[in-house]
């Protein structure tokens, strides 16, 4: 069975909600739609306070190319356009809508019928994806239409559907692939058509046998689509690791992109959103969110309207347990800890993981014993112990020479460290600082020209 070769670890799976079917979550009374739910420039509001909107109506237009539209996720009245706290306690501009009824925009096809024919051209498909405001739903939130716009001189050879979901706890992609396999396969075909590609690889880790079976069945009619079971290893869902696992090709270090080896990777939930946008004219207004944790009474997979407060989701899964808690947006390997639970579900929120009791706190750090486990675990072939120390001592040049910008922040080094050192905390700081230095240098160079 295939997997990527370099590094990686095997954290406990804890897929508590793997068997829980996707439930539609109750419509929220108020939604908060941040203007920046994606990488790139924040969107610009096109509605005013007091306007009445319907589900799927455009409320904020993309600002420039690398940006994404925002659509109303409920019908109702726009009550405010103002900064609201994000999960990390930072204020970000948002559109607030008070819900009235559940009125959808008339052009949206809400039937269950799976549409398989597509008469649109590749460019038209990409335009529809852009209009629907779709971004990478795995957590990276990179606008999908930008990813599909292949730079001159490159050629796409594969469409890769990322169904690895290597993050412990999370099951949203798994449930989407199990319950809506037909639509995911159609979405993948649309991506292939948009790019003029004849090869589609769907990589799924072998801890999801049901998803593999359903997807294989759904893809059986299409010879160009191959469902590839992958041997479990974190971070298989990392774009570069997945490409390596499926094609054996390695994306060169930054600034190279997956397209440099001919691959375009999209997460399974994103592919479903692409299908709905193109065939059903449905913009991105809802997504599947896993709400999970050992302390929660009922871990769930919920189909949630964007902008719903996360606290409501936690409540429906049984509420926060007693004692120490750490609430994560995402899974335990790459998720971000939150302090504002009333913050809204956004496009990139694939799950809410509640760590409680002893899991909530880190163990005290000891001294490095040079065990080299971090070096062996690093999927990018870096030396985490050196990078971490360099960042602490602010040796930025040494960090740049140590290829800190190649770090994908997967956390393998820190998770495997027997001294429990905060390796990635420092490496991330180093990566941010060095990336800033590189950008500043590039700016200085262009201005000189």
């Amino acid at each position: 069975m295939k997997t990527f070769r370099k590094g990686g670890i095997h954290p406990s799976e804890n897929k508590l909600s793997a068997g829980a079917a996707i439930e539609e979550f109750a419509l929220p009374d108020v939604v908060v739609l941040p203007l920046s739910q994606h990488i790139g420039a924040p969107a610009t509001p096109v509605v005013a306070v007091g306007d009445h909107v319907v589900v799927g109506q455009l409320v904020a237009e993309a600002t420039g190319f690398v940006s994404a539209r925002v659509h109303a996720s409920v019908s109702g009245t726009v009550v405010a356009i103002e900064p609201r706290l994000n999960p990390q306690g930072i204020k970000q501009p948002a559109i607030v809508i008070r819900r009235e009824e559940d009125q959808w925009a008339p052009e949206i096809d809400r039937s269950q019928r799976v549409v398989t024919e597509c008469v649109l051209s590749g460019a038209e498909i990409i335009e529809k994806i852009r209009r629907a405001g779709i971004v990478g739903l795995g957590g990276a939130t990179f606008p999908t239409h930008v990813k599909l716009t292949i730079p001159a001189g490159r050629k796409a050879e594969f469409v890769i559907v990322n169904g690895a979901e290597c993050e412990p706890y999370l099951t949203s992609d798994q449930r989407v692939m199990t319950e809506r396999s037909g639509e995911v396969v159609e979405g993948a075909r649309l991506l292939a058509k948009a790019l003029g590609v004849t090869r589609v690889l769907i990589g799924i880790e072998n801890n999801k046998p049901e998803a593999i079976a359903r997807m294989t069945e759904a893809a059986a009619r299409y010879p160009e689509i191959e469902v590839v079971p992958l041997r479990m290893k974190y971070p298989q869902g990392g774009e570069k690791q997945l490409i390596a696992a499926l094609t054996g090709r390695e994306v060169p270090p930054p600034p190279a992109l997956p397209i440099d080896v001919g691959a375009v990777v999209s997460n399974a939930s994103t592919v479903l959103a692409v299908y709905e946008a193109v065939q059903k004219d449905k913009p991105l207004v809802e997504r599947v969110v896993t709400v999970t944790g050992k302390g929660l009474k009922e871990p769930k997979n919920l189909l949630v309207r964007l902008g719903t407060p996360m606290s409501a989701l936690i409540e429906v899964a049984g509420g926060l347990p007693e004692g120490d808690c750490k609430v994560l947006g995402g899974g335990p390997m790459m998720g971000r800890a939150m302090i504002q639970l009333d913050a809204p579900v956004t496009k990139g929120c694939s799950g809410i993981t509640v760590l409680s009791g002893a899991d909530a706190s880190r163990q005290p750090a000891q001294t490095c014993i040079k065990c080299a486990k971090c070096v062996a675990a690093c999927p990018m072939g870096l030396e985490p112990y050196l990078l971490s120390k360099g960042a602490q001592r602010q040796k930025w040049e040494a960090l740049e020479a140590g290829d800190v910008t190649s770090c994908i922040e997967c956390g393998c080094c820190q998770a495997t460290c027997p001294a429990h050192l905060p390796l990635l905390d420092w490496i991330r700081l180093g990566k941010q600082t060095v990336s800033g230095m590189i950008r500043a240098r590039a700016m200085a160079q262009t201005s000189r020209k």
Binding site: Q88, G89, I90, I339, R362, Q392, P422, D425, W426, Q432
Partner: protein, 282 residues
Amino acid sequence: MEVLLFTVLTLCALGVLSAVVLYFVARRFRVEEDPRIDEVEKMLPGANCGGCGFAGCRGMADALVTHEDISALYCPVGGAECMNRVASYLGKSAPVKEAQTATVRCGGACAQRPRTNTYDGARSCAVAASLYAGETGCAFGCVGFGDCVKVCTFGALRMNPQTGLPEVDPEKCTACGACVKACPKHIIELRKRWPGNRAVYVSCVSHDRGAAVMKACKAGCIGCGKCVKVCPFGAITLDKNLAYIDPQKCRLCRKCVNECPTGAIVLSNMKPLPVDKVQVKE
């Protein structure tokens, strides 16, 4: 005895030989350098703090000697006295810069600003600040892990365990600016240094609205603007719910201090104006 003598002589011979080799190698590979650079370097404080923008005092000395115009170069540690000495030695006009001191503009001590969550990551302001708003309800205030203290080469900063905030010792502070660069929240500012280390400044950098500030911290600036109105010198401006006292215009009259409802305007090494005087004004 013979062995001992032989050993000593051999060692001596080796030493002399090495010295000779070293001498010639040193001559052969000597780098020609302006001897004045050495002299200027001696005049500089030798702290190698980087406050001048160069990696160390040597770099600064080199620049002072080679640059025609040295008005843009300034050693904050040595101050005017040092710069005058260097300038007169080099026969150039000395750069002028007023004396400054680092000022921590956050009054959110533990008592004023309750903790709302517990940070469990690497103990570094930069790491914590890039992750989230911080351990309190204020997203602008001091993170409290002492990055500024770690970079201070003069021992002028220390964390006060009672308040959880850094404190500057103006006597030791050389205004090198290392802490200003290290603070991820941009709380520390270099401000004009008055005789006797007297100072009046707004000890808050929060741009939140008044209600949000009051909820998070009892010592924050709520942007009420009273200080702006009372200032006779037009030194105070209000920008995005935050008052700022221009150190160039402020004359330490202290009227604003009595006017501030939250105590966000801080007075140091000075007695406050008697309260009745202000009341008379009102």
